[in-house]
């Protein structure tokens, strides 16, 4: 179970690191190497994004990665093959992140059971509110996978409680309004928001959107359980190559 893995891990570390990458960008082979590098650098869990042509919630960097992956021929089948391979090779939990149409076209129960078969621990589907997700949540429960739900700064207390009822593994708290990749103000206000998130769920909480350096991770320590690094790793790799990702991760903590 994802949650207990995280709880155990949190006994040893003040804060965990989750990184993100787009499968097939720059290529499927490179994706494998990036994952390998990151695992070696000590990330605690990873979200693997299956590219989609309309990634509405993503900012320019991840959007571009999605598009390039698709242009180079990335398919859902290849994504699952890669997922299977990394699960076999590396001893951390992996999550699938993608938009709902990818599941829908695949067949939601079939997609979920495929995740389970490949050893994936859970998934994040940013455009699927629980109200629309009965089929998905049922399938996830059936396969004991963690449905990672999202809290945002516009989410009311009531709704956080409602969402918490569907959440598994941990809760992904979005640091601010906007899409991925813009910068975040790590301030008292953010701390207040995090403590509100903390109070509404018993699950560990992750904070993502705009985490990009040690200072940010230090700020989050104690306030959140997981720091999520998304856009910044893509930027590092685009600038300095895959090997640089390892150093980058190591320097965060």
């Amino acid at each position: 179970m994802l949650e207990s893995y995280l709880r155990n891990r949190l006994k040893k570390k003040d804060i965990l690191l989750m990184t993100h990458l787009v499968l097939g960008y720059p290529s499927m082979e490179d994706s494998f190497r990036i994952i390998e590098t990151m695992v070696e650098a000590g990330v605690d869990l990873m979200e693997l994004q299956i590219p989609f042509s309309e990634p509405v919630a993503d900012g320019p960097v991840i959007l571009h990665a999605n598009q390039m992956a698709l242009e180079r021929g990335a398919t859902v089948k290849q994504a699952f093959e890669l997922a299977e391979k990394v699960v076999k090779n590396f001893d951390i939990p992996f999550l699938i992140m993608t938009y709902y149409n990818i599941l829908f076209k695949y067949g939601v129960p079939r997609f979920v059971s495929e995740m389970a078969k490949k050893g994936i621990k859970g998934s994040i589907v940013p455009d699927l509110p629980p109200e629309e997700g009965e089929e998905y949540f049922n399938a996830m429960e059936e396969h004991s996978l963690s449905s990672i739900l999202i809290f945002s700064p516009t989410t009311t207390l009531d709704r956080m409680q409602y969402l918490a009822g569907f959440a598994g593994g941990f809760v992904y708290c979005v640091a601010r309004k906007g899409v991925t990749g813009s910068s975040t103000d790590f301030s008292e206000e953010l701390a207040g928001y995090l403590s509100m998130c903390r109070n509404t769920t018993n699950l560990p909480i992750a904070l993502g959107f705009g985490v990009k350096e040690k200072k940010d991770v230090d700020f989050l320590t104690q306030k959140a359980d997981i720091a999520v690094i998304g856009t910044q790793t893509i930027k590092v790799i685009e600038k300095d190559g895959i090997d640089a990702a390892g150093d980058f991760i190591r320097r965060l903590r």
Binding site: F52, S53, E54, P55, V56, A57, G59, P60, L63, H64, Q67, L70, T75, V76, Y99, Y100, N101, I102, F104, K105, Y106, P126, D127, L128, P129, E131, E132, L149, I150, F151, S152, P153, T154, T155, T156, R159, Y162, L163, V174, K177, G178, V179, S182
Partner: protein
């Protein structure tokens, strides 16, 4: 709570969490407005004093004679202020924005008509305005970009994806998730998450309400068939909505592009290429591959060059209540040319799809029959595309001279 309304299996509200409360607010505001009789009155008042409603229903005597079939009537949405039915939706949403107390509007645009309409509404209501428009569409609808800017709007070129309408919608959403507090997203067609399909159709229903009264007044009976082009579906739903319970055949005409069997088209419902999917916040027929990735579409008409379609139309197709057809780029240009010469009317390239399909069918109808074509907009904006299609040498010379002047 996400309130999601379905039409059969289509529709819904597939929202990122960050937008849930914004949609809450919008759903509530729209519901209140809809239940407030003064709201529709205010809406009709502004549409008649600022735009030119009711728009006329014109009898096309020459085309009727030319084809020798049914009597052809044309609903003149081209006479709206800014030149298309888009004004109806935009002014309605503008009134809602005022109710919600927001100060800024954003919109996507394909043909540029919705962008111009939104920029116009923003000027009228004193809102700030940003318009997202795909690079490809900017190139083919430049005059509209020029006017949006002159109206005081910022036009942001979208360089991602296929660089057309759907990509502009994505960008608008990206703006919205950042600025929802003071910003309303004026979606331009009957697509997107609830309440957009219902809300846009509601405002556009003014077309059908008028047309029904007008045809009864002119002919004392209902038409046999009604033709409307289908991009997102708003003008079609606008005119169809008042006739759904009548025995009138409703025909939606999609963009056939180079032809349905070439793959280069935008026929989601009229071709076999469309399948059900979920994108841009709602479930409907999309042109997508088996993985669910959206495909490139093609049409000479930027406003029909869209990958999805209104969920309401998807249901009406499933129920067999609306028949869907398509017209190719070539057929559309021919229909446009004929309509210009025979009636002195200049349909937009989008609207000309409805004309093209009607022209295919009208000779086979009886002289006692009546058909109604929705002229959703005027073609002025399409001058570059039409001049190119007809390879007009004088136009090309003129443009080259202009270019010379600018070089100097």
């Amino acid at each position: 709570m996400v309130e999601s309304r379905y039409y059969g299996q289509y529709g819904g509200s597939y929202l990122p969490e960050i937008l849930v409360s914004t949609f809450d607010q919008l759903v509530t505001a729209f519901k209140e407005a809809k239940n407030d009789p003064a709201f529709w009155e205010e809406y009709e008042q502004i549409m008649s004093s600022y735009s030119c409603r009711p728009t006329p229903l014109t009898f096309a005597g020459n085309l009727t004679e030319y084809f020798g079939g049914a009597r052809i009537y044309i609903k003149r949405e081209d006479l709206n202020h800014t030149g298309a039915h888009k004004a109806n939706n935009v002014m309605g949403q503008g009134l809602l924005v005022k109710r919600m107390g927001k100060k800024r509007v954003i919109a996507e645009t394909g043909a540029g008509q919705h962008g111009v309409a939104t920029a116009t509404m923003a000027a009228k209501f004193g809102f700030k305005c940003t318009i997202y428009m795909g690079e490809v569409d900017i190139a083919r609808q430049r005059p509209n970009v020029f006017w949006m800017e002159r109206l005081g709007a910022e036009v942001v070129p979208v360089t991602d994806g296929t660089r057309i309408l759907k990509d502009a919608i994505n960008e608008a959403f990206r703006d919205w998730v950042t600025n929802m507090d003071d910003t309303h997203y004026v979606l331009g067609t009957a697509c997107g998450p609830h309440p957009y399909p219902e809300m846009v159709s509601y405002f556009q229903s003014i077309i059908g309400r008028e047309a029904k009264k007008q045809i009864i007044k002119s002919e004392g009976k209902l038409p046999e068939r009604i033709y409307a082009c289908v991009g997102g579906g708003s003008n079609a739903l606008g005119i169809f909505s008042s006739f759904l319970d009548d025995s009138v055949e409703l025909v939606g005409v999609e963009a056939g592009g180079d032809g349905l069997n070439t793959g280069r088209h935008a026929a989601r419902l009229a071709s076999k290429d469309g399948t059900v999917g979920i994108a841009q916040g709602f479930k409907t027929y999309f042109l997508q591959n088996s993985d669910g990735q959206m495909q490139e579409t093609h049409s000479v008409a930027a406003g029909l060059d869209y990958v999805g379609v209104s969920p309401i139309l998807s249901l009406l197709k499933e129920e067999g209540r609306v028949r869907f057809e398509s017209a190719t780029d070539r057929e559309v240009l021919d229909a446009l040319s004929l309509t210009l010469k025979k009636e002195g009317l200049v349909p937009a390239l989008e609207s000309a799809h409805a004309f093209a399909q009607a022209f295919k069918e009208v000779p086979n109808l009886s002289r006692d029959d009546i058909i109604l074509i929705n002229q959703s907009g005027r073609g002025d904006k399409d001058i570059f595309t039409i001049a190119d299609a007809f390879k007009d040498p004088d136009w090309q010379k003129f443009i080259q001279q202009k270019a010379e002047e600018y070089r100097a």
